[in-house]
């Protein structure tokens, strides 16, 4: 057996570019004078754009395997990598002024972010339980450090420690589950695991393994009851990091585990699995949305909203895994992918607005948004678009995404889940509009505080707002792209 093929490296191009960029930034930062520190940012963006271009140019028509089956490159993985790269680029470009004000504009920040992205991409492409774990750990470890990056902030350090401890614990659970699967089947490659499990049949060990793997997965996705870390981490961490993680980690985890359950378990235990995840989904939707109602800190509110959205995504996942051939079309998974892409713009956009208002990280309460419509009408309008998208009101991409997921749920026979999801969306209106109320219906506080936007922040805000509305009115092309990706996963 060959160790590896040179073609494998070509297939892994996007990840390798990111890893290389990370190292380059790390080294360049050592010799960079203070005044030229934006070169770090430029190198990072260059690396991300190169990776994205490579991805687009080598879009696979059929799935290919690399590293003797440990990595698979198919349109499904590449679609999610687009989301991840999108989150990275947006996350990096909304950060500069914030980093400068907080005094953390250093090469390590960008390097960690690039490594986290690389980890996410490896995870998504993983065709083997251990590869998925490898990618997950690379992503997680980088994220832990990024969360604690504000060294002088009590909140940030606390957030980092919490995330690290809880994350480490859940990774251990995940690994235990993987080892149980190995014990049962003698292999960790997904397709082989699936074949092997057919002969194993149902056993308590298998159920245990599923539960453990689910626990590790649910933690990363912020599903209830593994969500406890989310509010603190979102409130304490540096806002660009939180923005990036909220989409990137979620997208990578959901995509990787969808592959794990669909290809690896291949429909085994689907009913049991679906029931467990349905409970997780309902709890997430209900708890996330109801607790968000009482929040007064915008970042914390967005954290709970993230938990709610994780619930919606899990509904899509349930439909995908439990009924992969519903109505002859893999609707659930396509809906999920589409939703992730739309969520990217709305969520990062919302966090970008918080960064815009921030100054030394102090302006994150609802009151700070008072009268924004009168002082900064464009900013308020952008935030309004993001809030509408997160609620799921047309003509935004969030509406189409939610509609698609619940459409898939009803089509797959999970009408109750759809009803709960839609009702919770109505509840979410209350707290999203609560923020809108402060922006539009209160008067600004005197004296008007100064804002510190950077050009890239403004540009990214406009991009996110336009994308949210455009994709909401013309979602066709994106739906097709997602569908092609899913067809390569589930042939």
């Amino acid at each position: 057996m060959r160790f590896f093929n040179p073609t494998d490296l070509v297939l892994m191009g996007p990840e390798l570019i990111l890893l290389a960029a990370g190292f380059v930034v790390l080294l360049v930062d050592l010799v960079l004078p203070r005044e030229r520190k934006q070169i770090n940012l430029q190198l990072t963006v260059l690396g991300l754009l190169l990776s994205a271009a490579y991805l687009a140019l080598t879009w696979p028509k059929v799935s290919a395997q690399a590293f003797s089956g440990m990595i698979v490159i198919d349109a499904y993985a590449q679609f999610v990598k687009l989301v991840i790269l999108g989150a990275s680029i947006l996350g990096v470009l909304i950060a500069p002024r914030y980093l400068e004000l907080e005094g953390i504009y250093v090469g390590e920040f960008f390097e960690l972010l690039l490594f986290a992205s690389a980890g996410m991409m490896i995870m998504v492409s993983g065709n083997d339980l251990l590869t998925i774990y490898l990618g997950l750990e690379l992503m997680s470890l980088s994220s832990y450090v990024l969360t604690a990056f504000l060294r002088n902030s009590f909140r940030s350090t606390e957030a980092g420690i919490k995330y690290f401890l809880l994350g480490g614990f859940s990774s251990a659970l995940l690994l235990y589950g993987i080892s149980l699967v190995y014990g049962l089947t003698g292999t960790t490659e997904l397709a082989a695991v699936s074949t092997s499990l057919k002969s194993v049949g149902s056993s308590p060990t298998l159920v245990m393994a599923v539960i453990l793997i689910l626990s590790g997965f649910a933690f990363k996705v912020s599903a209830v009851p593994f969500h406890m870390w989310t509010p603190d981490v979102y409130q304490g961490g540096p806002t660009p990091v939180v923005a990036y993680m909220s989409v990137g980690t979620k997208a990578a985890s959901i995509a990787a585990f969808a592959r794990l359950f669909m290809v690896g378990f291949g429909g085994q235990q689907a009913e049991v699995w679906a029931q467990i995840v349905a409970v997780l989904a309902v709890l997430s939707m209900v708890l996330g949305n109801t607790v968000a109602v009482v929040q007064t800190n915008v970042k914390r509110m967005l954290a709970y909203s993230t938990i709610g959205h994780a619930g919606y995504m899990l509904v899509g996942l349930i439909v995908a895994v439990a009924h992969p051939q519903a109505n002859g079309l893999p609707d659930g998974l396509t809906a999920l992918l589409f939703y992730l892409f739309g969520y990217l713009f709305a969520n990062i956009g919302a966090f970008a607005v918080v960064i815009y208002l921030g100054r030394e990280g102090q302006r994150e309460e609802y009151e700070d948004f008072s009268g924004l419509a009168q002082t900064h009408p464009g900013l308020a309008a952008a935030m309004m678009i993001f809030l509408l998208s997160l609620t799921g009101i047309p003509p935004t991409v969030g509406f189409v995404g939610k509609l698609y997921i619940f459409y898939a749920a009803i089509g797959g026979g999970y009408t109750t889940l759809a009803v709960i999801g839609l009702l919770m969306s109505a509840v979410s209106l209350y707290y999203y509009m609560g923020l809108a109320m402060f922006m539009y219906m209160r008067n600004p506080v005197e004296p008007s505080p100064a804002f510190y936007p950077s050009r890239s922040l403004t540009a990214m805000l406009v991009l996110c707002a336009v994308a949210t509305v455009l994709l909401g009115i013309f979602p066709g092309a994106l739906v097709e792209l997602a569908r092609q990706g899913v067809l390569q996963l589930v042939p």
Binding site: I393, S425, R483
Partner: protein, 522 residues
């Protein structure tokens, strides 16, 4: 093309308003846009052919192929009439806001124009998905209009309105998806959101309707909650007093004049043709709720001390008439209800304008504060009286035509119901005439009342078109009836075709327990 222009032209106005700096310019743009919109919409009278059944001015472009969603718009008699009402009321609401709104005018007029697009889209949409999109889109500008320029409890009223209506919309969405999937199941896996397609529901080899009662029942319920909240039908009406009272004048005019019609429009457009058997089963309960709404709304109006709240509750009562007419499920009932929708838009729109006018002068809406106002304000008194008589249903004005036709329709189904409904007319006369007497007649003893000034030219112009239409429909309703005849006939046909043997002649329906469900006997 014509219809797309109508629907999207106000957005051009929104764009222009965001580009100008000057508040006066914003006012001017809004007025011009809505005036042009109205004049162009009069072209419908030319282009629309009342003798044709089915939809006209249709545009059908594929939009989201993978789901069978099309950008499909078109008009029939029902929607044409409501589109004309919308454009007229939009113009009037812009024109009446000149002095009423004094801060953040740019956003105000922008929201009004956005609202107009949303409303026209709802009436024009023939694709269920498109309809839903416009239905939801419409909520956002209304929320802002109430929440920013509203009265004392504007924040509460705004979020209550939004949440309540969104809750209904969500259930409506589930209903739409259920229809889609059911149709997909019986139509060899090809789903569609197109209304026209769904109305031509597949029939099995034995000639049986494949879209059976058990499936229809739940969807009807879901649709019912969504639409009933909008109408509003008892007991889903509690958002209405708050929203109407706290909204600015133009907001109330649009809310009462157009938004309320969307619920009843949706019943006629979607619930009846797509769910005919369920409609027949549910109809008696709908009429019961309508009757409760009529009488309850009227009784509560009688007790109100605030003018605007009184008129808000009177809307509940009037819309009860409309829904009673719809669920009489016969030609007269439905025709009457469409006419009455138009009438209610005109008369309640006028009444809210009237309240707004006196509020601008006296900054109060409490009835006790007024008295004898006809002395300083004779023109106002005249127009107020005409609107009052229209609302009551005095022959010669439009209200009578609608109410009479509805009563004819209901009478054919059940004499008891008709008698109960006419109680509403008597109560309506009671609260409206009493209101008028307390406000306009009697001695003008308060000094503040003696100082109020009569209407100026602009204010008269906001009311005159409505008054003219009130007389036009009241004295010569023929053309209006002719215009809506096609839609009424189509709806009644759809009901009749599905409910073979349940129709006795063209006018009555009965409930048959042979259907295996517990239908009520009348």
């Amino acid at each position: 093309m014509f219809l797309s222009f109508l629907i999207f032209f106000p957005l051009v106005g929104v764009l222009l308003i965001t580009l100008v700096r000057d508040r006066k310019a914003a006012k001017g743009i809004a007025t011009l846009v809505t005036l042009v919109e109205f004049i162009v919409s009069l072209g419908i009278l030319q282009l629309f052919d009342p003798s044709q059944k089915g939809f006209q001015l249709v545009l059908d472009k594929p939009w989201i192929e993978s789901f069978g969603i099309h950008f499909n718009i078109g008009l029939d008699g029902l929607s044409a009439v409501l589109v004309l009402l919308t454009t007229l009321l939009s113009f009037i609401s812009v024109y009446c806001s000149y002095t009423a709104i004094t801060e953040r005018e740019k956003e105000y007029y922008a929201f009004l124009l956005l609202l107009e697009t949303g409303m026209l889209g709802v009436f024009g949409a023939l694709d269920l998905f498109l309809f839903y999109v416009f239905w939801e889109v419409m909520l956002v500008p209304m929320y802002f209009l109430i929440g920013i320029w509203g009265g004392e409890r504007k924040l509460y009223a705004a979020i209550k309105f939004f949440l309540y209506t969104l809750f209904g919309s969500v259930l409506l969405l589930i209903g739409i998806l259920l229809i889609y999937f059911h149709y997909k199941g019986v139509n060899a896996g090809v789903g569609t959101f197109s209304l026209v397609e769904l109305m031509r529901s597949p029939v099995s080899a034995q000639g049986e309707f494949l879209w059976g009662l058990s499936q229809q029942w739940w969807v009807f319920l879901l649709f019912f909650v969504g639409f009933a909240i909008k109408v509003p039908m008892f007991p889903f009406h509690t958002w209405l007093p708050d929203a109407h009272v706290e909204a600015p004048t133009a907001g109330s005019v649009i809310l009462a004049g157009v938004l309320l019609k969307m619920g009843t429009y949706a019943f006629i457009r979607f619930s009846l043709p797509l769910l005919p058997e369920a409609s027949v089963i549910w109809a008696p309960y709908m009429v019961y709720l309508s009757l409760i709404g009529i009488i309850y709304g009227a009784l509560v109006s009688l007790m109100q001390k605030d003018m605007k709240k009184l008129i808000a509750y009177s809307s509940v009562s009037h819309m009860g008439f409309v829904t009673a007419g719809i669920f009489a499920l016969n030609h007269d009932g439905i025709a009457g209800s469409i006419i009455q929708q138009l009438n209610h838009g005109l008369s309640t729109g006028a009444l809210f304008l009237i309240v707004g006018l006196i509020y601008e002068r006296r900054h109060t809406k409490k009835i006790a504060e007024f008295g004898g106002l006809s002395q300083p304000m004779p023109i106002y008194a005249t127009l107020f009286l005409i609107a009052t008589l229209s609302s009551i249903g005095m022959p010669g004005l439009n209200g009578f035509i609608g109410e009479f036709t509805i009563l004819v329709g209901v009478f054919q189904i059940s004499k008891t119901w008709a008698v109960l409904a006419s109680l509403g007319i008597i109560l309506g006369a009671a609260y409206m005439l009493w209101l008028y007497q307390r406000v306009m007649f009697g001695p003008c003893d308060k000094p503040e009342n003696q100082r109020v000034w009569d209407l100026n030219g602009r204010e008269i112009l906001t009311l005159v078109p409505l008054v003219i239409l009130m007389f036009w429909i009241g004295l010569y309703p023929g053309p209006t009836f002719k215009m809506i005849e096609g839609s009424v006939q189509t709806t009644v046909d759809a009901l009749r075709n599905a409910n073979e043997g349940l129709y006795d002649g063209y006018t009555n329906y009965q409930h048959s327990s042979a259907r295996g469900t517990s239908g009520a006997n009348r």
